[in-house]
Symmetry: C2
Subunit: 406 residues, 2 copies
């Protein structure tokens, strides 16, 4: 039979990364497409110890029953202490536990975006956020970015003319570029948001994965009026599979997000919440990151070196992130990365073609590479294949131009 | 500062049960308000054994990483076998794992409901579904119910005149009434849905909690064309806190729900999925229910007897469910259960006043009582207090009438 789906989902198909993740679960593909933290850095032993202690103390039954939608008081308090390390003050009633950072983003759009509303994003930005905005029938609009962060002229122009509801940013080790906004840029964009009455959604899952350079304060730590909604996911520093994140927001906003969450899934899984709470309380979050961050540094350096070695000179401009999971490449204009991707998958390697990260679908010569989830020798092998494919594409394109000029 | 929330959430406040659940977490209140399964029936030992085996076999790391949005293949297959026991055939690609039945409902509305669309529900129905429909700016419309199920004349009339997108039903041990639709009524409403092109959402979290009478086939088992979306939650028979349920739907619908879920929370918690999978595979679901169902029977009988004993004769019409969690009371028209609730909470007992379950906010003389989560002696004590409060309310109302007639 024919199904008549809602307008909001009619045009929406699965996100590319999700579909690729499915593809790469086959196993024989070398994937630089996902956003998985390094297996070696997940605190498996700590989580085991937490589960053992819970069961031995007879506490399991307690976490099998229903809980409240905002999350357990103990976990909200534990997140409060983590926030404070970065200068963010959020009481438990300004904190909402969500089922991964993704749900935090979804609830922000649910609470603020009406059909047709403009939502500003960096170009390029986290592709799933673009999908979420569309699922609420909002209109994502890209803001140009610079080496410092957002292009403030473009941002102001768009705030002035489009009356956007939200500005969405991943200001530290951005997905997909790995870039970090300067403190000055953060202050300036907050001031613009104040002036034009725009809420900021600050998505901050990567900041703790810093392997060089100096920390930059979260925008939320500069916010005096409750204009910033801050989302801290534990997916990259604890476990993606357990689906735990926290949102810090002014109390009226937090309450609205809780109402949205009641409809969505009642509450975040109680066993996951418990494991996250005990892990944060143990103080092992920072210890664990400090012990493992050299793996990320090593892998990023391996990727940077391999890209420089294997990609023909002058063909690729890449970012050089100080943390996070991603390197971003802008290739010669003659290369279409959607087509490159199809050829790469034939060679059993994967990345994410860049178009999906742009609000307007531009960026056809860009791509995102994940460096966190493969050892250096695999990174080297993968980049060698990628470099060869790029070289071949350029050679073919030269031949075509030559033929055309005949 | 003033926040400008989206239209969809502007009018929506927290659901009554959620707020009450928070209230009753204080501890000194005797609550008949929630929908919690009996603590004694949660398979704590089985879940412990599953977690132990997972850790001992070194499998924990695997469930800490990201998974696919539709849920693990193993859990979908395990649900498929559970469905088959009730005559429902659903392949793994017609099955979507969701973070509790609530998320299944939310995804159905996300996939089908446009602003202004009519959505038919039984009057009264599960209150959170009314909230979900409103959060998608749909318009819930109540259909009258009879002892057999839905009033088919009223249903047809509303299908004909309102072109609803969905019909939502909890046909077995309904929330809030505890009533069960007859097989004949199910066939008839499916035929009407076929005739008028309406999708049916069948929410079936309670059917396995049958303590007397004979099972009635799920509507989904009668569906030959893919018109029914069937939601089977494990919250009442395994663990509410772990947030696991499955949706069975025709493949194009399942795919759309997966797209919706990608935006919502990427995937259901992997540790919860694993525990559910192993529990279903072990065959202990039915064993566990068979071993514990006498507790539900006992508690329902205690509640029925206490209501008959303590509520003044002729004042209360109540349902007599053969399973599930709830008894529904329709009181004398002079009693407003919102006001009764306020007085009940002063006496440290809680129930859910019935208005919230009606699409049009009627039902001011009705209330829902949960019998599963308190031992018989507490049920007796609670109903004694409730009966006394009802008696006092009627006496006061008589006095007022007497004064008025002076």
């Amino acid at each position: 039979m024919e199904y008549v789906f809602s307008d909001r989902l009619k045009a929406l198909s699965g996100t590319a990364t999700r579909e690729i993740l499915k593809l790469t679960q086959g196993g024989d593909i070398l994937s630089f497409a996902g956003g998985l933290p390094a297996r070696e850095c997940l605190p498996v032993g700590d989580i085991e110890a937490i589960l053992q202690e819970l069961m031995q103390s007879g506490g399991l039954a307690r976490v099998l029953q229903y809980g409240i939608s905002e999350g357990t008081a103990a976990l909200r308090a534990a997140f409060g202490r983590v926030f404070l390390e970065d200068g963010i003050e959020a009481d438990p009633d300004e904190t909402v536990i969500v089922s991964g950072g993704q749900q935090g983003l979804e609830l922000c759009c649910k609470a603020f975006v009406n059909r047709g509303d403009a939502v500003l994003v960096e170009d390029p930005t986290y592709l799933a956020f673009l999908q979420i905005v569309k699922s609420y029938e909002g209109r994502p609009v890209g803001v140009r970015s610079t080496d410092e962060g957002l292009d403030l002229n473009d941002l102001e122009e768009k705030m002035k003319t489009l009356s956007p509801k939200l500005l969405y940013v991943v200001p530290t080790f951005s997905n997909p570029t790995g870039k970090t906004y300067t403190a000055k840029n953060r202050r300036a964009l907050l001031a613009l948001a104040e002036r034009y009455g725009v809420m900021i959604v600050e998505d901050d899952p990567y900041a703790k994965l810093r392997f060089s350079g100096q920390p930059v304060p979260p925008i939320k730590s500069l916010d005096k009026t409750g204009r910033v909604i801050y989302i801290q996911s534990l997916s990259k520093v604890f476990s993606p599979g357990l689906r735990v994140a926290a949102v810090a927001a002014a109390k009226p906003v937090a309450q609205k997000l809780v109402v949205g969450k009641q409809n969505t899934d009642l509450h975040t899984g109680a066993l996951s919440q418990y494991a996250a709470q005990r892990f944060l309380e143990s103080g092992k979050l920072n210890q664990n990151i400090a012990a493992g961050i050299h793996i990320y540094r090593e892998r990023k350096e391996a990727m940077a070196a391999a890209l420089d070695r294997y990609i023909p000179a002058g063909v690729c401009t890449r970012t050089d992130p100080e943390g996070g999971l991603f390197v971003w490449c802008e290739l010669d204009k003659r290369i279409d990365t959607d087509r490159l991707f199809a050829r790469a998958v034939e060679q059993r390697i994967a990345f994410v073609p860049g178009r999906v990260f742009f609000a307007d679908g531009s960026g056809g010569n860009t791509l995102r590479l994940n460096f966190s989830n493969a050892p250096p020798k695999d990174i080297d092998r993968g980049m060698e294949i990628l470099g060869r494919l790029i070289g071949q594409t350029l050679a073919n394109s030269a031949k075509i131009s030559y033929n055309k000029s005949e």
